[in-house]
């Protein structure tokens, strides 16, 4: 027998006290509560549109690609446009979660979770379109290098195959990134779960206790994933741009394409983050966590990338003229004054002109204007890809085969499906997982508590948290 403890053990044992929960937990878990009628209505509309889109797709598989508006030589239409659009949207998430993490931009903490989730859902949406565009979707697996009875391997010199690798890597790494970031927050939800959620969260939290060992491995993992995702985000849209730039189609064959597409991707992604986060903040009253300071920063990103995109537009036109290549000159002339002039001017005004209003701080912090500009950017960026893809293909070298392409109802239905598909996933995510990274927000709260008297820290507490302490 060991000697008895110096203090009576019973004196040390305390009854379970009422749990002191943190304000951040309560506020940021509140969106997981019982869904409102409006939520069900929104989800219902999204699911109905998805069902409708799926049936239209089945009709297209059955009837053949003739029901899409393809007209020789325009064999890349709305599907490829929408593919590039959604891949672009995905880029803001990785920019915010990986690149801003490496730069230690703490303001990202408020929006990184929603941006990462958007990345995953946007890639999931984008990934559908090559399959839809394929026509015979049941042969999609031919793209993968697998041993087959024909003894053939795919052509690794083709940018289209690079795309397969880039997009599937991007999808996988984004899912890993989202999940790793979610583990501690799922554990927070697990500790407070009721009802059926008591089955879901323990399974996904993987027994996370927040021990020193777990956090240490977690910190390293996030750092390394950020390091890997940073070049990845730059590579993915470059590879997508090479789908075009590696060909000899006038209007596509340009070295500017990779940086031009990457800037456009971040531009459109940031705009969609704003389009999604502004309503969420309003509906769930998260003004204390997602503040005008965050919106101001995102608006500056949009302003910067809008300027880059606008510069790329000017460069494209200048080089087309300066090259003195007849086909290039014609292609660009017809963009602005040919059959697709409406799309081109929508693209120029929405992407290069309206966002320039964000030079004014008043507009950057005025939420309705910001929402309107972000919304216009989303439209403009879809039209940018439409102009590049359709505009160039319809007026290639030989004027005798020039056509005017018009999307059919099938293509437009599937375009609508893509938005519903994305929204459906996002709405479901909103009710299952914390849409703001709680642990990372608390990191700032606790850090502030520790260094409370110190002034002039790297960033301004008041800006980020309002009155929450």
């Amino acid at each position: 027998m060991t000697p008895p403890p110096a203090l009576p053990v019973a004196a040390l044992m305390q009854p379970d006290v009422e749990m002191p929960d943190s304000a951040a937990n309560r506020a940021l878990l509140s969106p997981l509560g019982r869904p409102s009628l409006r939520y069900w209505a929104l989800l219902g509309v999204a699911v109905a549109t998805v069902v409708y889109g799926l049936s239209v797709w089945m009709y297209q598989i059955y009837a053949g690609m003739g029901v899409a508006g393809y007209a020789h030589p325009v064999f890349w239409g709305v599907y490829i446009v929408t593919f590039v659009f959604w891949v672009g949207i995905a880029h803001a998430g990785t920019l915010i979660s990986a690149i801003l993490y490496l730069f230690r931009s703490k303001w990202r903490n408020a929006i990184n979770r929603s941006a990462e989730a958007m990345t995953v859902f946007a890639v999931a949406t984008a990934g559908l379109f090559p399959l839809i565009h394929l026509g015979r979707v049941y042969r999609a697996y031919w793209l993968l290098p697998y041993p087959n009875e024909r003894g053939l391997w795919p052509n690794f010199k083709s940018p289209l195959l690079w795309d397969v690798f880039a997009i599937s890597t991007y999808a996988t790494v984004s899912i890993v990134f989202l999940f790793v970031g979610l583990i501690p927050d799922i554990a927070i939800a697990r500790d407070r779960a009721r009802g059926w959620r008591k089955l879901l969260y323990p399974a996904l939290a993987l027994g996370w206790h927040g021990t020193a060992r777990q956090w240490k491995a977690h910190n390293r993992t996030v750092l390394h994933l950020s390091g890997l995702a940073t070049p990845l985000v730059l590579s993915v849209h470059s590879v997508v741009s090479w789908d075009f730039a590696m060909s000899i189609v006038p209007g596509w064959h340009a070295t500017i394409f990779a940086p031009y597409f990457v800037a456009g991707a971040i531009f459109s992604g940031m705009a969609l983050v704003l389009t999604v986060v502004i309503p969420i903040r309003r509906i769930y009253g998260l003004e204390a966590y997602i503040t005008d300071y965050h919106f101001d920063n995102m608006a500056k990103f949009i302003l910067l990338t809008s300027t880059i995109v606008g510069y790329a537009y000017v460069t494209e036109y200048f080089i087309a003229w300066y090259s003195a290549v007849e086909t290039e000159r014609t292609s660009f002339f017809l963009r602005a004054f040919g059959p697709y002039w409406v799309s081109t001017w929508i693209m120029i005004t929405c992407n290069a002109i309206f966002p320039q209003l964000l030079w004014f701080k008043k507009l950057r912090t005025h939420v309705p204007s910001l929402f309107a500009i972000a919304f216009l950017v989303n439209i403009g960026m879809w039209f940018e890809r439409y102009v590049i893809i359709v505009g160039s293909l319809s007026t290639e070298y030989d004027p005798s085969v020039w056509v005017t392409y018009t999307p059919t109802w099938v293509e437009l239905s599937i375009l609508a499906w893509s938005f519903a598909w994305f929204s459906m996933f996002f709405l479901i995510f909103l009710k299952l997982f914390p849409v703001v990274a709680i642990a990372e927000m608390k990191e700032i709260v606790i850090h502030e508590k520790e260094h409370a008297p110190r002034r002039g820290d790297v960033w301004n507490h008041a800006h980020t948290f309002g009155e929450i302490h």
């Binding site: 943190s22 391997w153 690079w162 554990a187 020193a212 240490k216 390394h224 990372e440 520790e450």
Partner: protein
């Protein structure tokens, strides 16, 4: 063995005390933290996390697979495309690059599981010393010690500004 849990407000106090306790020979320590903290990262183990080895192996495996697969497959059924060599390394760099990221990322996740010992514990059960307050805003320092050290550890925890000290296992 008795297990004591001290509840703290600040990670710094926990890290300092953990280091002190280790110097005094208490090796069976555990820290619960609601947030990542660089102070706590080093409190129980000064060495850099071994996750980095996993990332390195994954990345190297990816780049090797990328080049080896593309070159071998091109030579396995040689087809002349665009007048280029059968195995042209420059375009294959794209594939090798993507696979570096892919395998690097997946191995990093594996590293998190192996080094962080996840999944941990039994389904729906937490350690007896764990409390949901440690996923709120408080930090826990768990010390397993011999019966005769209980009062000493209790004193140390309280002196290091522990809000509460609880004995979870007698």
């Amino acid at each position: 063995m008795p297990t004591l849990v001290g509840v703290f407000e600040q990670p710094l106090a926990v890290a300092e005390l953990a280091r002190h306790l280790r110097q005094r020979g208490f090796e069976e320590l555990e820290i619960y933290s609601p947030v990542p903290s660089h102070e706590l990262d080093r409190a129980l183990d000064e060495k850099p996390s071994r996750v980095r080895i996993f990332t390195l192996i994954g990345g190297l495996l990816g780049v090797t697979t990328g080049y080896a697969m593309t070159v071998w497959m091109s030579l396995d059924w040689p087809i002349m495309i665009g007048g280029k060599p059968y195995a042209s390394v420059a375009p294959y760099t794209v594939i090798a690059f993507e696979l570096t990221i892919l395998l690097g990322g997946l191995f990093t996740l594996l590293g998190l599981f192996v080094v962080g010992r996840l999944p941990y514990g039994r389904f729906g059960k937490t350690d007896p010393a764990y409390h949901p307050r440690f996923s709120a805003e408080e930090f826990g320092l768990v010390v397993r010690c011999r019966d005769r050290d209980v009062s000493e550890v209790d004193g140390l925890l309280r002196r290091a500004s522990a809000k509460e000290v609880t004995l979870v296992e007698a």
